[in-house]
């Protein structure tokens, strides 16, 4: 099994590249999910507080 992970003298380069790519993709997914959660919570709070205001005529 170990031989699959040890890729000659370039092991560190290969795993570093894949690792950094994975971390960056995880980070942008996490930030995107957090953006959606934050806005959903804000909207819910505003609506719960009865701030759906109808403009005065």
């Amino acid at each position: 099994m170990t031989e699959y992970f040890l890729m000659g003298s370039h092991t560190a380069y290969i795993w570093a590249a894949w690792g950094i790519a994975g971390v960056l993709m995880l980070a942008i997914w996490s930030a995107s999910a957090a953006l959606l959660r934050r806005q959903a919570a804000l909207l819910e709070a505003l609506e719960a507080a009865g701030q759906t205001v109808t403009p005065k005529s």
């Binding site: 699959y4 003298s9 290969i14 590249a17 790519a21 980070a27 995107s32 959606l36 959903a40 205001v53």
Partner: protein
């Protein structure tokens, strides 16, 4: 078709499509990574280091694809003045920025053992670095202008002007002498890559594309909600003034 461009209808559709995009993305990326890292053979010339290609090349393609998508959305926004077009452009920018960063970092890591240097100011690398700055500038401009309509239009112009960099990136390896190798897959004749490497590369490229769609749907939903929040707050302020 235009019915789906209604933000409320789009929001519901995107909520339903998100888990599918997530599942397809994770499946393709998992399969592509397994094939690319463990089953595909090492390259005759470069050996094992070539396995970086399976993440570097799809990231570079997506970096350009995202900017193209951002420019088309921005152009559509300016022509038809549809809010969803601007939402799509704004949502795409951070995703494209991350793909560009991945392409640059993995390219740099690949460059050290093959070229003997982490970085070279050659045409391909420099034009991709400029793409990174274009994304950063676009995001900074969105955040700098408070009024959303003016921000959308100003950033749309920036996105369209920056699109001139895309053909420069694509053809830089043909127009100038660079360290970077020429295209192996997207060329007039047959791809210069064996099927045992082509399959994992295409799986990773499709996985990256599905990942982009997944994140785009997430971010567009977030932005649609943000606009509703802004609208409610504005209505409250106006009601308070009257």
């Amino acid at each position: 078709m235009w019915r789906f461009a209604n933000p409320a209808i789009f929001y519901d559709l995107a909520a339903k499509a998100s888990p599918w995009a997530a599942g397809i993305s994770l499946l393709l990326l998992g399969l592509g990574a397994y094939l690319g890292l463990f089953l595909s053979p090492p390259d005759y010339y470069q050996g094992e280091i070539m396995r970086i290609m399976y993440v570097h090349v799809p990231a570079a393609w997506m970096a350009m694809f995202c900017y193209g998508a951002m420019a088309i959305s921005s152009g559509s926004g300016l022509i038809w003045n549809h809010p969803l077009a601007y939402v799509a452009a704004k949502a795409t920018a951070p995703i494209g920025l991350v793909f560009t960063a991945i392409a640059l970092v993995t390219g740099s890591i690949w460059g050290k053992p093959t070229w003997g240097t982490w970085w070279s100011w050659d045409a391909r690398m420099t034009s991709v670095l400029i793409l990174l700055f274009m994304y950063l500038g676009y995001i900074a401009l969105w955040n700098a202008i408070e009024e959303p309509v003016r921000a959308a239009k100003t950033t749309a112009i920036l996105a369209l002007v920056g699109a001139v960099n895309l053909p420069i990136i694509k053809f830089s390896v043909d127009w100038w002498n660079t360290l970077h190798q020429p295209a192996s897959l997207m060329r007039a004749d047959a791809p210069a890559i064996h099927a045992s490497m082509l399959v994992p590369l295409l799986l990773m490229a499709l996985g990256f594309t599905a990942f982009y769609v997944w994140l785009l749907l997430l971010r567009m939903r977030g932005e649609i909600l943000a606009r509703r929040v802004r609208g409610l707050r504005l209505a409250r302020v106006q009601a308070g003034q009257n």
